[in-house]
């Protein structure tokens, strides 16, 4: 294969311009890639926090529905509502960062965690509470899957977005055609 080589004097005449352009473009590329990488790290931290809050909701719900007695039910309910609110806030922050999940999923989690006889005076435990925990676990799994999907939609894996790696090949094709 023959590769076209422009005349040496033209290259020498404009070499400083080419070098400067390549350097400046390189700075921009490196800066934008660094920004993107740092932003991705920050968002991943929020995703981790949201998942930890999901576990906290599950633990608080388990405590309220299956463990606590009548005396501690009030305090346990307050903790559970706070954890549910905390999860909702995390999801709002993620949505503003471009990792949005359907609001119905959060509603499903809240409904499973604080629905039915939640905060009922003199509530007694029934076998239905076990079903509620299973429902909550399912809702939380759905929510976590949705968060992960949204995250990888927002930050696509390298193989799906790096169209720029084809530039040298296309460039070679053009050069060989001109020659």
């Amino acid at each position: 294969m023959e590769i076209a080589i422009p005349e040496a004097d033209i290259l020498l005449k404009f070499s400083f311009v080419v070098t400067a352009i390549v350097t400046i473009v390189g700075w921009f590329v490196v800066a934008s890639m660094t920004d993107r990488r740092e932003f991705r790290k920050e968002v991943r931290e929020y995703v981790k926090d949201a998942k930890a809050t999901c576990e906290a909701v599950q633990a608080s719900a388990h405590d309220y529905w299956l463990i606590c007695d009548k005396k501690s039910a009030g305090a346990s309910a307050v903790v559970l509502k706070a954890e549910v609110g905390n999860l909702a806030r995390h999801l709002q922050i993620l949505a503003t960062l471009g990792v949005a999940t359907p609001s119905e999923m959060m509603a499903d989690v809240r409904r499973a965690a604080t629905g039915g006889e939640f905060e009922k005076k003199g509530r007694v435990r029934t076998p239905v509470d076990q079903d509620r925990m299973a429902e909550l676990a399912g809702s939380i799994q759905d929510l976590i899957s949705s968060i992960d999907m949204a995250f990888y939609q927002r930050f696509k894996p390298r193989t799906q977005r790096q169209w720029s790696r084809f530039i040298p090949i296309v460039g070679l094709l053009f050069i060989s055609r001109d020659a």
């Binding site: 309910a77 119905e104 959060m106 809240r110 629905g115 939640f118 905060e119």
Partner: protein, 100 residues
């Protein structure tokens, strides 16, 4: 169009809790009886601010808003008349799911 405005946190309670009046003074049933039904009767449109509370349980929401359907209000009327003000969109979608 005549708009009414209700804030759960400022007009009712910062800690709404429970389903029935027997569960406590800040229950969903009481909120529905004292605020939502009179508001719907007086106004063409009712704006409900859901923010500012210490957390709202689904039992409260279901009894307060879902209970309106059980009392005879039609789902389409409720969908049309209610406007929700909240930073948490899941609260609105949950309430509207009770009317479907």
């Amino acid at each position: 169009m005549d708009d009414g405005m209700i804030s759960i946190a400022t007009d009712f309670s910062r800690s709404p809790a429970g389903r029935f009046i027997s569960d406590g003074p800040a229950s969903g049933e009481r909120f529905r009886r004292d605020f939502l039904i009179p508001g719907l009767q007086r106004h063409d449109r009712l704006v409900v601010d859901l923010d500012g509370t210490r957390g709202i349980g689904s039992s409260f929401l279901e009894e307060a808003f879902g209970g309106l359907v059980r009392l005879g209000f039609s789902a389409s009327e409720l969908m049309r008349k209610f406007v929700f003000k909240t930073k948490d969109p899941s609260l609105e979608s949950e309430i509207r799911s009770y009317w479907k």
